[in-house]
């Protein structure tokens, strides 16, 4: 029996559990109906999507059908999985069979993939309900979700401000209550920075922990899919469902799913929490204040605060903005108007390429393609791309050394709280600086996550970034859970 009658909630679904963990447990055990859960969230979307614009596409009907399927399964006594009936929003750069996947770019407008990304299949197997495809900076290139061919997403806490980016739609969707969970992709901070700006939890797992198959590539050696959630426990639930080896991704790490959920209540007693003494400057006073309080909170919780140095940290931005565009210039060469997506006709194929790509890509994407093409081109490879790869190695070595002395490191996730739309669009460099603190873990492959920790100027959310060594998500989540418990209210 799909026992909606066994709980009390009104037509709008008020009274239904809001945490993914609770929704899944109750749907899985037939206490509440997945259909009611979906209707509740579609109702929220109905109410606020107009001002937030988190979605490129809301999958109302598919979601209703899928939810009914879940309820039927539960009624039939089947175990519908750890995410049974939980609505999940997908960043629109993850391939969904038969459902448009645009990367918020004109060049992919109207294209529907003939296959599902691995994460999409895993969500399905776990009983999740995909509720929509969320907005992003075109091809995940940006830090504000203003570089979308389909219009900017706005921050649910203050719609005059950006949600961060590039996964701004996924962050906003969770913050606005459109879905309890969402997936984003993080190449230089594209999950952690918007999570911080929207006041939700955002996780960039260890490179290779989550399959990239079906994630439209931006920078292949840096891209990683990860969860957004309202709290650490929900983020853990989603990460466990999507992680684990995939033979379809050659860079996927061998071994089963990450297990992080059971460590959340272990506390941080005796844990060595690193404070980076030579952390690059640039964080605003309110953010710095929250960071100091986060160290105090963990010390009070029994952790040992240790000073560490990461001298190469400061070179991360330069290395990243040479490596990522270089890989992107190659990854985005396939958008040529021959096999799929946009074509602008021209008298010969070479002219057609240029006409199609010039019309199909936005300014930021073109800028990065040119930067990356230059960094790889004859005569400049060694000075730019080649050199950046050596800096990358240096950064990895410095972090490895720091992790000799500390189990986790804390930094700001974003230098500032959410800024206003248009503040940084005229100056690309100012936008790039948003990634200062998140970039290094993409270069090293180590995990990082942002957890809300109080507010800053104008009462806007601040996120603290917890960094850990590769595959140490367990201790990272433990630390984040402690910060969550001790966050200023």
């Amino acid at each position: 029996m799909a026992g909606t009658d066994s709980t009390t909630h009104d037509a709008d679904g008020r009274g239904l559990p809001t945490a993914a963990v609770d929704i899944a447990w109750n749907v899985r055990n037939g206490v509440i109906s997945a259909v009611d859960v979906i209707e509740r969230h579609l109702g929220e979307i109905e109410r606020r999507e107009g001002e937030v614009h988190a979605f490129n596409l809301v999958l109302g009907d598919q979601a209703r059908t899928r939810a009914a399927e879940i309820d039927t399964g539960v009624a039939a006594g089947d175990d519908m999985g750890p995410l049974a009936g939980v609505p999940v929003a997908l960043k629109d750069n993850m391939c969904t069979r038969g459902i448009p996947t645009t990367c918020s770019s004109k060049i992919l407008d109207g294209w529907t993939p003939p296959y599902d990304a691995t994460v999409v299949s895993r969500l399905h197997d776990a009983g999740a309900v995909v509720i929509g495809k969320t907005n992003l900076d075109e091809f995940a290139m940006g830090s504000s979700t203003e570089n979308s061919a389909f219009g900017a997403t706005r921050n649910p806490h203050d719609t005059s401000r950006v949600p961060g980016g590039s996964s701004g739609g996924s962050a906003a969707a969770v913050a606005a209550g459109f879905a309890p969970l969402s997936l984003g992709s993080d190449t230089g901070g594209s999950i952690r920075q918007p999570a911080a700006l929207c006041g939700v939890v955002g996780v960039k797992p260890t490179y290779g922990a989550v399959s990239r198959l079906g994630l439209v590539a931006f920078a292949s050696s840096l891209d990683q899919i990860g969860p957004f959630a309202n709290d650490v426990a929900d983020a853990a639930l989603l990460l466990e469902a999507i992680s684990g080896h995939d033979p379809g991704d050659s860079t996927s790490i061998a071994g089963g799913p990450l297990h992080v959920g059971n460590e959340l209540d272990w506390g941080v007693t005796g844990l060595r929490v690193g404070r980076i003494t030579d952390l690059p400057a640039g964080a605003s006073a309110d953010v710095v204040a929250r960071l100091e309080e986060s160290f105090d909170a963990l010390r009070d919780a029994g952790a040992e605060i240790v000073d560490v140095e990461v001298p190469a940290f400061t070179y991360g931005l330069s290395a990243y903005y040479l490596i990522a565009p270089a890989e992107a210039s190659s990854n985005l060469a396939r958008y040529d108007g021959v096999r799929f997506g946009l074509r602008v006709e021209a008298p010969d194929t070479n002219a057609m390429y240029a006409a199609t790509r010039t019309a199909g890509f936005g300014a930021e994407v073109k800028r990065r393609i040119m930067l990356g093409t230059y960094a790889l081109s004859a005569g400049y490879y060694d000075a730019y791309y080649g050199r950046a790869l050596k800096v990358r190695r240096r950064i990895a070595a410095d972090f490895a050394a720091a992790y000799e002395r500390a189990d986790v490191l804390l930094t700001p996730a974003s230098p500032t709280v959410a800024f206003h739309l248009g503040d940084k669009t005229s100056d690309p460099m100012s936008m790039y600086l948003c990634d200062t603190y998140t970039i290094p873990s993409n270069l090293t492959g180590d995990p990082g996550m942002s957890v809300p920790f109080g507010t800053g100027d104008d009462g806007l959310p601040v996120g603290i970034q917890v960094l850990a060594p590769a595959l140490q998500e367990g201790v990272m989540f433990r630390t984040a859970a402690e910060l969550e418990r001790r966050a200023p209210r």
Binding site: V216, R334, D336, V338
Partner: protein, 501 residues
């Protein structure tokens, strides 16, 4: 001596073999040619290099496609272990070192290149520093053999029809895209068109022998580019031109012959050679400029982030080495030894290429005459495969009868034809049935005496030392014996009669 046609070269090396044996260098107005060959071969795998769609020639257009083949957004390559193994196999067969290797992206736009980059091994190829010995003892160095993916196929339509220039549009089929290729790059050790042909023919036999590829030039599963330059012997290398579109062993020879002479002509006319890529036109027998080095693309190679290092451990390499069959050169030596022929003799080359060398050895093992067997197999077994239908024992018996002089060459041929037609049989019985029983010397002597008696003046001339008079007498005996007499035996009898008389 080396006019192999396209179809011949695809099935056997007839016509190109002795070319390989020739060591006499090519020289033209005091210049020598310096040639290196780049050969692309499609590997005989079931699936593509980085995805599971079939590697199959001749299917309906765009039926062997998947997200990786089409370079769809989000697609990721996963390396085919079998392709790596075949590359290692042929590398070891070419005496290469198998090493730790990586893949790179070669970035360029072309409609039959789906991702706008080709995944290819660049600065770290899997096989390096080998060599290939040509029949006749010339050694050609192998610089490298690396794995890469093939492109799709473009068909140019409208306009002048079929040709890329002046066509109205093109249609693209991606069935071939992603098919595993090995590119084998020789050192510039080749000095004559014959050597070039022999190199291609020998490389082909090795590829087929190790099962790496069917290496059919006419189907494009083996494609040859030639780097050609000329110089005064001993001087520095000259400026080279790369010749493309060499679709047969024959055109390889013709193209480099033409190109070398063209370059000599330019140098003699005081002109400088421009480094460029040139296209061989089979019809007008010339090479034409395709593109010059100046407008060569900037490929922006960088390591493929979607693939990881291929680092075969010694155990794997040794397993592959152990799986190598006996290679053509060794098989030719073995056959040569058994038959007393030079190992680059036409018969040895042809029979080994047909894979019938083991059969000839089996005939010898069955007590037959290996030398005679080799000749018979080369002449009469062209239509037969590596396992001829005639039991080795039967051919052995035939060669034994020949050895005993029990059959004349003519008779032996007829018996052999019968054996081939019937797929075996007892040569003795066949010879008997044909009335080939060797006549006893008594009968033969009587015929000789009859001939002498019938032509006294021919006999007198013969005794007087006119050798050609013998023809009439032998002829008479042959006539009387209805061609069954052994010519040598008749001559011997006449000689003995003369010395006796």
């Amino acid at each position: 001596m080396s006019q192999g046609t396209d179809s011949q070269t695809a099935t056997s090396r007839t016509g190109t073999s002795r070319a390989g044996a020739s060591v006499d260098g090519w020289a033209f107005e005091g210049y020598e040619m310096v040639v290196g060959l780049e050969v692309h071969v499609e590997l005989a795998t079931a699936t593509k290099l980085f995805s599971g769609s079939p590697n199959r020639f001749g299917d309906e257009p765009n039926t062997n496609i998947d997200p990786v083949t089409l370079g769809l957004p989000g697609a990721l390559p996963v390396l085919n272990r079998r392709a790596v193994e075949l590359a290692m196999k042929l590398g070891l067969a070419l005496n290469c070192t198998v090493r730790r290797s990586t893949f790179a992206r070669k970035n360029y736009f072309y409609p039959d290149m789906p991702k706008a980059y080709q995944i290819s091994q660049y600065d770290e190829p899997i096989c390096v520093d080998g060599w290939l010995d040509l029949p006749g003892g010339i050694r050609v160095g192998i610089e490298r053999a690396h794995l890469e993916e093939d492109t799709g196929k473009s068909t140019h339509l409208g306009g002048s029809g079929g040709r890329i220039h002046g066509s109205d549009y093109s249609l693209i089929d991606f069935n071939r895209a992603g098919v595993p290729l090995v590119e084998i790059v020789s050192r510039p050790d080749i000095r004559t068109p014959d050597q070039a042909r022999a190199y291609v023919a020998e490389l082909r036999s090795i590829l087929v022998a190790v099962g790496a590829s069917d290496a059919k030039m006419e189907e494009g599963s083996m494609r040859v580019d030639a780097n050609v330059s000329v110089r005064r012997p001993g001087a520095e290398f000259g400026t080279r031109c790369e010749i493309k579109n060499l679709n047969s062993v024959r055109s390889v020879g013709r193209a480099i012959e033409y190109e070398a002479q063209r370059q000599v002509g330019m140098l003699d006319a005081g002109e400088a050679i421009r480094q460029e890529t040139r296209h061989w036109d089979e019809n007008d027998g010339r090479t034409h400029t395709l593109r010059s080095k100046e407008d060569a693309d900037d490929y922006r190679y960088f390591q493929e982030p979607d693939l990881v290092v291929v680092d075969p451990d010694p155990a794997w390499i040794e397993r592959v080495r152990a799986s190598l069959p006996v290679l053509p050169a060794a098989r030719r030596d073995r056959l040569a030894e058994a038959t007393g022929q030079p190992s680059d003799a036409e018969a040895v080359l042809v029979v080994t290429d047909r894979g019938q060398d083991d059969y000839v050895l089996a005939v010898a093992a069955a007590g037959g005459d290996a030398g005679r067997a080799l000749v018979h197999v080369k002449e009469a077994f062209a239509e037969q495969g590596a396992r001829p239908s005639v039991p080795a024992g039967d051919l052995a018996a035939l060669t034994t009868m020949e050895g005993k002089g029990a059959l004349t060459a003519t008779q032996a041929k007829q018996v052999l034809a019968q054996l081939v037609a019937a797929g075996g049989g007892d040569p003795e019985a066949i010879a008997a049935a044909k009335g080939f029983e060797a006549m006893d010397t008594g009968e033969l002597e009587r015929m000789v005496d009859d001939a002498i008696a019938a032509q006294p003046d021919a006999w007198a001339k013969f005794c007087g030392g006119e050798g050609k008079a013998m023809g009439a007498l032998v002829g008479a005996v042959m006539k009387a014996s209805r061609g069954q007499a052994d010519g040598k035996a008749v001559t011997r009898l006449l000689e003995s009669r003369r010395t006796a008389g």
